[in-house]
């Protein structure tokens, strides 16, 4: 087979989701954001929700998420995405509304908005990218930074006396009556991506069924922030992040 035969539609086994724009992504090589964006696009497309989905972008590396998915978006102030999503959904109950937030956005500056949106059981999906570091601002400590982990604002390693402990915010959210699904996934292998997509779809289904708030946490890599190669960061994530943030459902009602 030559190349023109290979790219015939009947020979294609994989295609870029239609909802993904052709714009080159600003994410670093090895970053989890691109894969998660793709999964969201696939789920929206497969559920036929393109015309009724509104995404809420955060402040952080995913601040430009609105450049990549061909849907309506609002870009929130740092940490406030769940407040925006609350109003968007309540004023438009037939729409699909999701937020996309990093660990600093969701678990530091936006902790109040996150907890209260979940506690009210807003019928939204919260997509939470946990890579234990602030990527956009250049590698500072996040609330989820591991003990001993070095960042530019804890250059000698996270120390409990100075910085407190890694915040397992999803465990906290799972305790709230308003949440119906709290699950922790990752996207570093093909089977992991498949599983993560299944849970993401369930979250979107919950939202449209009015079951309450669904949170899908993605334990993620930040090769640049961690100062590793993409491959090494995947390995580091499995060895260091997953013991602190074990994968699986924390709540699935």
């Amino acid at each position: 087979m030559n190349i023109t035969e290979i790219i015939k539609p009947e020979n294609l086994v994989y295609d870029k989701p239609r909802l993904m724009n052709d714009r080159p992504m600003h994410y670093c090589p090895g970053c989890s954001h691109g894969v998660v964006h793709k999964l969201i696009a696939e789920v929206i497309e497969e559920m036929g929700l393109e015309e009724k989905t509104i995404g809420i972008a955060p402040v952080g590396c995913a601040v430009f998420a609105y450049n990549y998915l061909d849907i309506d978006w609002q870009e929130a102030a740092h940490g406030r995405a769940p407040a925006l999503a609350t109003a968007v959904k309540r004023l438009n109950p037939d729409k699909m509304v999701f937020t996309y937030q990093g660990d600093g956005d969701l678990a530091a500056i936006g902790t109040a908005e996150t907890i209260h949106a979940c506690n009210r059981g807003e019928n939204i999906v919260i997509i939470f990218i946990n890579n234990a570091i602030y990527g956009m601002t250049g590698g500072q400590m996040a609330p989820t930074t591991l003990m001993g982990m070095k960042t530019s604002t804890c250059p000698y390693g996270r120390n409990e006396q100075l910085n407190g402990y890694p915040l397992k915010i999803s465990n906290l959210l799972a305790q709230l009556e308003g949440t119906c699904l709290v699950t922790r996934q990752t996207v570093h292998t093909a089977p992991a991506i498949k599983k993560a997509k299944k849970m993401l779809r369930l979250a979107f289904e919950n939202s449209m069924a009015g079951k309450g708030t669904s949170i899908v946490e993605f334990v993620s890599t930040c090769a640049s922030g961690w100062k590793m190669t993409p491959d090494a960061s995947n390995k580091w994530m499995v060895e260091n992040m997953l013991p602190m943030y074990p994968l699986g459902d924390l709540k699935n009602n």
């Binding site: 393109e50 015309e51 009724k52 989905t53 509104i54 809420i56 972008a57 601040v63 609105y66 998915l69 061909d70 849907i71 309506d72 978006w73 609002q74 870009e75 929130a76 102030a77 406030r80 407040a83 925006l84 999503a85 609350t86 109003a87 968007v88 309540r90 004023l91 438009n92 729409k95 109040a112 908005e113 907890i115 209260h116």
Partner: protein
Amino acid sequence: MKGNEVIAHAAIRYGADGYFGYPITPQSEIMETLMDEKPWETTGMIVLQAESEVAAINMVYGGAGCGKRVMTSSSSPGISLKQEGISYMAGAELPALIVNIMRGGPGLGTIQPSQADYFQTVKGGGHGDYKMITLAPASVQEMADHVALGFDLAFKYNNPVMILSDGVIGQMMEKVVLPEFRPRKTEEEIRKEQPWATLGKPKNRKPNIITSLELDSNIMEQNNNRFQTKYKQIAENEVLFEEMNCEDAEYLIVAFGSAARISQKAVELARQQGIKVGLFRPITLWPFPEKELAAYVGKLKGILVVELNAGQMIEDVKLAVECKIPTEHFGRLGGIVPTPDEVLTALKAKLEAKRS
């Protein structure tokens, strides 16, 4: 009805889509009245008590981004918390109504009335070069009227609008004629009238993106220039003010809101004593009635600016008349509301005594 209650009724009757707030004295009656009226059962208006003022203003951002008629209310300390959201809405060009029933500050201050948030409101309380249309009601009737006016202006210019009132007008009871009920806008109407609204992307248009972010400085400068052009247009077209007994006046009291109500009585007392005083009341604090005040240059012996603060609007008055009219200030602070007699005494002491 109380001024605060009237805000709630006027919002429901205007066809507002949503209210998001957090309790704070002296304005809690606004959300209490809305909750009591249960508009979600009649007009479909959503009312939600948020976890903070920060969350409430961001809910307003979210709702406004959908092209909905949404509002929030608070009092001074809570309005400080909303400044981030107001700046973002100005940057994203979102229409919304924000009500500030001012109390005395700084800090937690007092729950008593004040007008000390004038600077914060008209000079841009949040970051960046932006302006917020500011309405200053001086009666319970105007509290009702300014809800509709505020929403109309917000949607005319895609800009946040603030009703800047205080505890006097908010708590005061007066007779009021409420506006007629208007239906809320349907999704189809919003899609047509606010084509930028994020209500889900049909196949035939590009995604709508509500954002204040632009990292390309050249485009960001263009955005800012566009805002400035809009502000200039607002300044040219939307100035509102009231003049009372000004035709033959030798002195002018300039005051807004509750201070104007007190000054109105002071003008009456002064006239009884043969002092020719008029009252000039800015209704829009931004845009400020600059030209209208400048027209008094050469015609007055002096201006007394009366405010429930240490002297804020007086700066705009002096700028308007280019300091060509002697301008003095009288204010009480910390929640004290002066009597008309005090205003008259101040007028005599600060202006009349010096001149005659």
